[in-house]
């Protein structure tokens, strides 16, 4: 398996499972390493550089995982919906596998956002949980992830499972803007956005940097894990092909 690097780079070249599989295997460790470096830098900023918050004290340091996890949980769902749409329109084999590979990681970040939010809410609001619009729509996102995973795993015929999952992913994507704008549309206990494109961030620069670097770490982590996971999905799906057979020979020959 050699990369076609001569005479023009074709992005669609990598849309074929047999060329994407080795590419994913080569890229994943780099993204994992990048995630580890960014997380180390982000955690150092979070605990040793960012000052104590004037009103909340130290408990605000939950923000450095809470906000990146919440961003990631929404973004990953949108990417899943994107790949689902691509799969339906172009009938490409890899698209649905990408969506499937992203779902568990999105669910993990969604859970982390809810968990850290609960532990932050208790000392600041006096409650682990309230049924306000932001929290409720984020909980719905977790159930959408679970629903997607359960649906795609339950359907025996893989291509039918892909299509059913794609429809759920696309319909459920409506929930993402609802989560994001819930703090504007409804009078929520949850605070408004600390960072937005339209106004200056309402936090100290070192806090902001810590949060953004942790968000980049979450991005790199997601890419690495999704690439590793999609490799297993590709092998499963393409098991009847000669190239998987050759790959199995290589893996089976290993001590």
């Amino acid at each position: 398996m050699t990369m076609q690097s001569s005479r023009g780079f074709h992005l669609f070249h990598f849309a074929a499972p047999n060329t994407f599989y080795p590419l994913a295997g080569r890229l994943a460790p780099w993204f994992a390493g990048l995630a580890a470096l960014l997380a180390a830098l982000g955690l150092w900023l979070a605990f040793f550089v960012a000052p104590t918050d004037a009103t909340q004290g130290e408990v605000y340091r939950v923000i450095f995982i809470h906000v990146p996890a919440a961003w990631m949980s929404m973004f990953v769902y949108l990417v899943m919906a994107f790949w689902s749409g691509m799969g339906i329109i172009f009938n490409t084999r890899l698209s649905a596998l990408m969506a499937r590979a992203l779902a568990p990681t999105g669910a993990m970040f969604c859970f982390v956002a809810l968990w850290t939010g609960a532990l932050w809410g208790r000392p600041t609001w006096g409650a682990y949980w309230v049924w306000d619009a932001r929290l409720t729509s984020q909980l719905l996102l977790l159930f959408l992830y679970f629903g997607y995973i359960a649906l795609t795993e339950a359907i025996e015929d893989p291509r039918r499972g892909d299509r059913a999952g794609a429809i759920l992913a696309l319909v459920g994507a409506v929930n993402v803007p609802i989560i994001y704008f819930s703090v504007k549309w409804w009078n929520t206990l949850h605070q408004g956005a600390s960072v937005s494109l339209t106004k200056a961030p309402s936090m100290a620069a070192t806090m902001l940097w810590g949060m953004l670097i942790m968000a980049l770490a979450a991005w790199a982590y997601t890419i690495a894990v999704a690439l590793w996971r999609v490799r297993s999905l590709i092998l499963e799906r393409e098991r009847h092909t000669d190239w998987v057979s050759a790959e199995l020979d290589r893996q089976g020959a290993r001590p």
């Binding site: 605990f47 040793f48 130290e58 297993s232």
Partner: protein, 68 residues
Amino acid sequence: MNWNSWAAFWDMGGAAFYVWGSYGVTFIAIVAELLLVFRRRRDTLTRLLRLRRAQGGRPAAASPDSSD
């Protein structure tokens, strides 16, 4: 530097349960996901190798979606 001692660091101004409860569970979730991903890889390879050996070294039987 925010902390005068390691004890102060671990105490997090009295918010240790909430801060370390958040970071700890996040860490566990990430480690668990990584373990599951690598176990899935190993299980997939084992299963497909066994499947192929059972069919005499040929690629696994073509499934209905093999035509595309």
